[in-house]
Amino acid sequence: MSTPTTVVDHSALKVNQTGIVATVLVAFVGSLAWRPLLVLIPLLAIVLLVGTFVPRLALFKQFYFQVLKPRGIVKPRPVQDRPEPHNFAQGLGGVFLAVASVFLIPVPVIGLALALLVAVLAFVNLAFGYCVGCQIFFQLERRGLLRA
């Protein structure tokens, strides 16, 4: 049985991934000089988790839809697709960042490593189109643990 697809604007996904990579990098590199920048990691976790459950509040995607797309800065790329695996991947990133945030103060190495891992996976998706979260979604769906 196949789930009907809808049109997903892949430019919005790319802007979202760019936002994740940029935010984590700013927090990671910037915290070498100014530690309070690490607050960007819990903030990013909130942005991703809120955006997963209330897509119209997804900050980076809304930045694309409200600013970048209307001004022609980024061209839309509509693809017949399902939004659920992408939302799942974003939520997973949010959960990892939330766990990273818990570790940032007591064990900064773990917190930073988890946040960096999220940025690496977002970069892999951005650069090569390989979405690890979507593969996990497929495995869970295949085992009947997730339903669209």
Partner: protein, 135 residues
């Protein structure tokens, strides 16, 4: 060494370990698929495992398959047809299997397979069919 450098080293190790595990997993799956068979056909063909959750299938794999021209492609939903997907150890999407005309699996590609790679594998499949016919 600062926490940032330790974290960088840890992520590097995790990525390396994940890449090695993925490599081992695909080698193991390829070995297991070596004996798998499907229906025979006139010409070599491709089993293309996909699913609704697979974006790379739509954005990369399907255009690559279209570039192959006149080749039979059996598109299979890996979630719906789980038995067939299990027979070919499909653990990632897309997966493409180049089948010989006698129904043997000749090449299995886990993940996106570009058109030139598939063309090479199909040419090999045609060559082996020809040598079997002349032998």
């Amino acid at each position: 060494m600062s926490a940032q450098l330790w974290a960088l080293a840890a992520v590097g190790l995790i990525v390396l370990a994940a890449a090695s595990l993925e490599n081992l997993r695909s080698r193991r799956a390829r070995r297991l698929v070596a004996g798998a068979t499907a229906a025979p056909a006139q010409e070599p063909y491709i089993l293309y495992f996909t699913g609704d959750s697979c974006t790379v299938c739509r954005t990369h794999q399907e255009p690559a398959l279209t570039r192959l021209g006149d080749v039979r492609i059996d598109k299979i939903d890996a979630v719906a047809d789980r038995a067939l997907a299990d027979r070919f150890h499909v653990y990632t999407l897309p997966t493409t299997v180049v089948m010989a005309s006698d129904g043997r699996a000749l090449h299995v590609n886990y993940g996106y397979a570009p058109a030139p790679k598939l063309e090479r594998q199909l040419a090999e499949a045609r060559g082996s069919a020809l040598s079997a016919a002349t032998a």
